[in-house]
Symmetry: C2
DNA sequence: CGTTTGCTTGACTATCGTCAACTTTTGTGG
DNA sequence: CCACAAAAGTTGACGATAGTCAAGCAAACG
């Protein structure tokens, strides 16, 4: 993947960032991504890591026959693409149009050593990823289809709801299915069942969702 | 959980450790754990984190009705129990007798700031956990029972085989099932099917395994 | 040596996946 | 802005994989 291939880019000084305080030095490169744009693929050299400014990114792994597991959706504020080794261990694409900042991986050791604030941010990003991963393993390994979808809805509500319990999902049914370890049909059936049962409202065929019975969803969240 | 409740403990100087080089200062507390001993439970205050010296630890989460997901088995050299917040996000127990070193969490920020070697070790431990978690999500969400068991066997072979393709599993069928998102019956059936098909050898009812057709297992590993 | 714990095996079932048709929505070009 | 095509989503019928329940066997443990 080439950062240079991005739709739009702009350099800007550290002052504009919540990140390191190197006065005036450019620390990251902002990129605007169109829907579906690939940031990097599994196996690519890990030249950069990223922070989401707006929009949504999916990171995923594939099996040789094409089965896909989306391990996370990254939303505004999330850091992703950090690697221990030289290669990316998963692929990443824009779910919908997104704005991200790319940081050169080669600068990571220096930044971490010198800048305690940056270090804390990276460490806690990693730990949060790990926590999410652990919660998600519980979901994938042990929850039923209904429980998976309920958990997903509550998680999304927490992350993107304008807190009247309404939000627009940035991803397709297909992405949801590949995130929850289900098929698109099961996701569709479960969501519509929830609608019929009054747990949520799916306004006519959009990607919008409204929680109508949070308590019932939380009961399914086990 | 009480570190003091451990079966045996001993303090020893840093020189004996591959960890920080603070000459002569005790940096960790070694603990001998009997099979089944709980190190900490989900929700406990995270006073310590740990490094496995020998044996095996399982870390897991529970649903309210008792369904369990073992997110990882920690073997010699692995670091676990690091948390972003004040509480442990999962429980940890000795799968079999084990020796671990406990480090006080309160010392973590200082150690990380001062000791670049320690910092690298912690960072790469976290990143390796994350990589393992990502691989495991792919397994849980998208692999069949056969593929799950094949992947598990190859992973264990890599981690504990005396490299004549033979090893003794430290964990019970039950643990394997809760790690792979299967039932104990399916694990048993799949292993015995592999035996019948000549992929592995299960010497009469022990916990020992011998790989007989690694290529076939790797094909299932997708 | 007997009891407990772990493992295996069989019969049956349920949940979720597959396949397929159809509807709705979105996007594009005239 | 309409018309059509493509993409996304829904629904139904059916089936397969893995789960449940149950019984029996083997190992380990005191």
């Amino acid at each position: 993947m080439q950062v240079q291939a991005a739709t739009q880019m702009s350099r800007f000084p550290a002052a504009a960032l919540p990140l390191p305080p190197k006065a005036g030095a450019p620390v990251g490169t902002q990129m605007a991504l169109r829907k579906g744009k690939e940031l990097f693929a599994e196996g690519d050299e890990a030249e950069h890591f990223y922070k989401v400014v707006s929009g949504a990114i999916r990171s995923y792994k594939l099996l040789s026959d094409g089965r896909r597991q989306i391990d996370a959706f990254h939303l505004a504020g999330d850091i992703f693409g950090l690697e221990a080794g030289a290669e990316h261990r998963f692929s990443a694409e824009a779910v919908a149009s997104a704005l991200v900042i790319a940081y050169r991986r080669s600068r990571l050791p220096a930044l971490i050593a010198e800048d305690s604030q940056f270090r804390d941010q990276v460490m806690s990003a990693m730990l949060r990823s790990l926590e999410r991963a652990q919660d998600h393993m519980l979901l994938l390994g042990r929850k039923t289809a209904q429980e998976k979808v309920a958990t997903f809805l509550l998680d999304m509500a927490e992350r993107i709801s304008d807190d009247d319990e309404h939000f627009d999902l940035p991803m397709l049914r297909n992405d949801i299915a590949d995130h929850l370890g289900l098929t698109i049909e099961t996701v569709s059936r479960t969501l519509n069942q929830f609608d019929r049962d009054g747990l949520i409202r799916l306004p006519a065929a959009s990607r919008s969702v409204m929680l109508r019975n949070r308590a019932a969803l939380e009961r399914l969240n086990a």
